[in-house]
Symmetry: C2
Subunit: 246 residues, 2 copies
Amino acid sequence: MVARYELIADELRAEILSGAQPVGSQLPSESELAERFGAARGTVRQAVAVLVAEGLAGSRQGARRIVLGAARSQSFAELHSFAQWARAGGHRFGGQVIEQRRRPASAFESARLGRGEVLEVLRVRSLEGEPVLVERTVYAEWVAPAVERLPADCESVTEALYDSIGLVFAYGEHLIDAVSAGAQDAKLLGVRRGSPLLRQRRTTTTHEGRPVETSDDRYKPGSVTFSIRNSIGANPLTRQAGDLRF
Amino acid sequence: MVARYELIADELRAEILSGAQPVGSQLPSESELAERFGAARGTVRQAVAVLVAEGLAGSRQGARRIVLGAARSQSFAELHSFAQWARAGGHRFGGQVIEQRRRPASAFESARLGRGEVLEVLRVRSLEGEPVLVERTVYAEWVAPAVERLPADCESVTEALYDSIGLVFAYGEHLIDAVSAGAQDAKLLGVRRGSPLLRQRRTTTTHEGRPVETSDDRYKPGSVTFSIRNSIGANPLTRQAGDLRF
DNA sequence: TATGAGAACTTGTACAAACAAGCGAGCACC
DNA sequence: GGTGCTCGCTTGTTTGTACAAGTTCTCATA
């Protein structure tokens, strides 16, 4: 069942994206929307809260909400899965496993994924036929068998794991910085050694908080950009002093 | 006045950060918390929603909320202002204007900041005595006079502008990618030309949605990392195909 | 021992009502 | 003409209630 406030949010979002509510304009008041949709004010509030969280609208006490932007933001799945992101954007994409092996977990890894063996996989993902991303993923022992059963050119690991063992990636933590390309990175991405790469290190867990994987993803510059919209009172991105530990 | 749910959120957050609620543990149910704080369930719900939005806790229907992480996330001010961020982290920091001049707005800039002249400022920010950030900021015409009045070694531009003209930065959009250091970047940051830099391009607006500035900030690698935590149903960071237009 | 139904618990959605607090326009006054 | 105040509008906070929907554990049954 889809919630009422989601439907209302969808409708309002569509108006913003279509330009019916241009950037800079004021949204109708909560009471007006409540009347229009025949819903309680609380429900409408939840709906507009969605838009505010997406960065489409801005809100402050006493004044009407204003439209801040008209760009669609992505779902968790699209952020997590290269394949789902690329597909949603209408891009041509692919993937290929370069190397894959089991090994004992390092101290750092066992702190995140649990003790025992881990499965390390090196993949290259391409966009529009060009390699843009080197993915070094380390899977926890309990998912390793399922990952090993995947074909080397598996398009979407996320979807394949869901289909095979019902695994759902639910939470992620991401660290973003820049590094210079190592010899292997350079070769795989077709850039010079030492050229800049955008690095995204992530750890993903299931609903229950059980860690599934950590990954070191390196993007060729110019291929991908991360984007966030924030406001006073609501912002998710943080900046950390780098300590160069890993 | 501070809202009740904020106080409750503060208390719960403190418990998580202190380790009284370790990562992976379950939070008390809403009814338990409601009783403990003598508040309605709705109020408690708002409080835990804050923690979920901060990425500290995870939530799904039917199951108890679990603690996901124990790292403090930052306020908007800390993300926006280098000075406030550095101060909150207890770092030694500084800043210095290298160059500053007015010029007509480019087509790209007048689309964001409005027509007319703009003020371009080149700053270097340092952390623990070392230069870590080159900031190329372009201010809209209406804030230019206030910016020009600032001293060259102004520590916090954000705070100074608030004090002098009551300007509040309320909304921001951020694009993050990696670039290689140009000759000027390299000289100012003390790195080799071509070495990787983490770039954050941002546009900031006031409460009313009026654009104030756009900036191109370049961080020395290893000095600063961006971090976000996300989940199914709530994630603010997006990935964009790079089009190298600017 | 496994399986399935069920009950208890927990979070999600929706409505209604009331008051607090901030904003902005309009108006009176100097 | 400008200044300051008031009033209406709008969003923010809080409480209470009811039901929907998903999870987890227990217990009876095959």
